[in-house]
């Protein structure tokens, strides 16, 4: 079974982009593209061939991450927000699967990705929901987890 995720990263801090790339690589996944602004995200994501987008809320052009998440989700690309400020995310999670709270650990991200592989590729997910990942309420109900 294919367990590798191709991940598009939207994060304005380059050090955190780099850290995520290492986390993805060491967990057996692949970062296929990145963006630091809403414009970059929306123009680059469609051609990146990604299975999943990890999206920060505060980007280089302001708190545009929620809008980016909505746009990518509308394109059919599954989104997980990575943020230190979950309050900015609307109740319906703006179409995203869930939230990984900052500051995250390498293990936390790896566990979340393990869950997301089956959530994205062959839902419903088989792996247990790790504590560092908060699911959107609608999905949590559909998948009977949490």
């Amino acid at each position: 079974m294919d367990t590798q995720l191709r991940v598009f990263v939207v994060e304005d801090e380059v050090l955190l982009q780099m850290q995520l790339e290492v986390f993805l690589d060491e967990a057996g996944h692949l970062m296929v593209g990145s963006a630091t602004t809403m414009h970059e995200a929306i123009t680059r994501a469609p051609t990146a061939g990604a299975d999943l987008a990890l999206v920060d809320i505060h980007l280089a052009d302001g708190p545009t991450g929620v809008e980016v998440g909505r746009a990518l989700a509308d394109m059919g690309l599954p989104v997980v927000f990575m943020t230190a400020n979950a309050r900015r995310i609307p109740a319906d999670f703006s179409g995203a699967i869930g939230i990984i709270s900052k500051p995250y650990s390498q293990t936390g991200v790896a566990e979340a990705l393990k869950f997301l592989v089956s959530a994205v590729k062959h839902p419903p997910p088989e792996a247990p929901l790790p504590p560092c990942l908060t699911l959107a309420p609608a999905l949590a109900e559909r998948w009977r987890v949490n």
Partner: protein
């Protein structure tokens, strides 16, 4: 019509002389303004007024006899009060009500009106009797109180709104600071990662791994502090549960089993970092021990209040191998002792519970803030 004409007699009485009916004389002479109306005639006109009524209203007797009482009403008279009086007259019941009336010269006064029907022995309505009392002073005082109350309420509402705005500003600021702290912790762990990947020798890698794990413990503190919207108290049990679950996954394949027995204990946020660093260090020692022994099936973590002022955090092995104490590096021991000094905690390095070996720490429970 004998009864109906009785009042005419009253008016003809010579009050000062004391002749005639003494009750009628009293009505004529009292300082309480009084009126009698005749509902038997069209529009229920006044048929008797005493001098006190004329004094109160400023009218001459001939100006009021034969008229309905409504000439006392004026522009600011409450129509609800007028309706209530009309209803009482129609239903032949009595009523006591404060109504704003006007004197002949146009000045208003508050009239505490008492109106009651007068019936004969057969229950047939004969008259209406009304007494008036000028309660302008009392009414003004009442209105002053209402005005003062409204003023105070408005002032309180305004102040409350100011405070709410100030509180919101403070909350926003707190969220902003919290956001930056979390972002910076993430950046610190990224910086450690860069150095760790560059490191070529095992000792440096190990040092940076320890550093990363301690930064991750602090990161978990900040994730938890805000998750429950409680920035004042830190949930120690919640932290241990989350940190241990991740740490057990992080290094073991298969992961180390955990036996958790965690009572809900919280400490002031000011102690969150040292408590979390100490607890996470002990959890990592336990996991390292289980992995190194190769035979340990699980580790136990427990947290319990032991007295009013203390709680105890313990790590224990399953007793199948050498004691957990053998897995501690000297620098880990001094790191924990250092934090224990700060927290006024006591470490019991070499304990036994049945066959298993344990390390326990007794920590003081801080006084939760009063009224908060």
């Amino acid at each position: 019509m004998e009864a109906r004409d009785a009042w005419k007699l009253t008016d003809r009485l010579q009050a000062p002389s004391g002749k005639g009916d003494p009750f009628a004389a009293a009505v004529r002479a009292t300082r309480m303004p009084m009126v009698v109306t005749d509902p038997g005639q069209p529009d229920n006109p006044i048929v008797f007024v005493n001098d006190a009524f004329l004094q109160l209203t400023g009218y001459e007797r001939h100006q009021v006899i034969g008229r309905n009482c409504r000439f006392l009403q004026g522009p600011d008279t409450d129509q609800a009060a007028v309706s209530a009086i009309r209803a009482a007259v129609e239903s032949k019941t009595d009523i006591a009500i404060d109504i704003l009336n006007y004197r002949r010269d146009g000045t208003p006064f508050w009239n505490a009106l008492y109106l009651s029907p007068v019936t004969d022995d057969d229950g047939e309505l004969l008259f209406f009797f009304a007494s008036q009392l000028d309660v302008t002073q009392r009414k003004r005082a009442e209105l002053d109180v209402i005005e003062e109350r409204d003023r105070v309420e408005a002032a309180v509402a305004e102040r409350t709104q100011e405070l709410e705005v100030a509180l919101q500003a403070r909350t926003d600021l707190l969220h902003e600071v919290d956001h930056r702290v979390k972002n910076n912790l993430q950046l610190i762990s990224a910086l450690v990662l860069i150095e760790r990947r560059k490191a070529t020798d095992a000792a440096t890698k190990a040092t940076l791994t320890t550093l990363r794990e301690r930064v991750e413990a602090l990161s978990a503190v900040h994730r938890l502090l805000y998750r429950n919207d409680n920035v004042v108290r830190f949930d120690v049990a919640g932290f241990i549960r989350e940190f241990a679950a991740e740490a057990a996954q992080a290094r073991g394949k298969p992961p180390v089993g955990l036996k958790l027995d965690l009572d809900s204990i919280s400490v002031a946020a000011a102690f969150a970092a040292p408590v979390a660093l100490m607890a996470s260090e002990l959890v990592r020692i336990a996991i390292t021990h289980a992995l190194a022994s190769g035979t340990e099936r699980y580790i136990s973590l427990s947290i319990k209040p032991t007295s009013d002022a203390l709680y105890r955090f313990c790590i224990a092995d399953d007793g199948t191998a050498e004691g957990i104490i053998t897995s501690i590096e000297p620098d880990q021991k001094s790191f924990i002792e250092l934090l224990a000094t700060q927290l006024h905690a006591k470490v019991h390095w070499n304990g036994y519970v049945g066959p298993s070996h344990s390390i326990c720490v007794d920590l003081p429970i801080d006084e939760p803030p009063r009224g908060g």
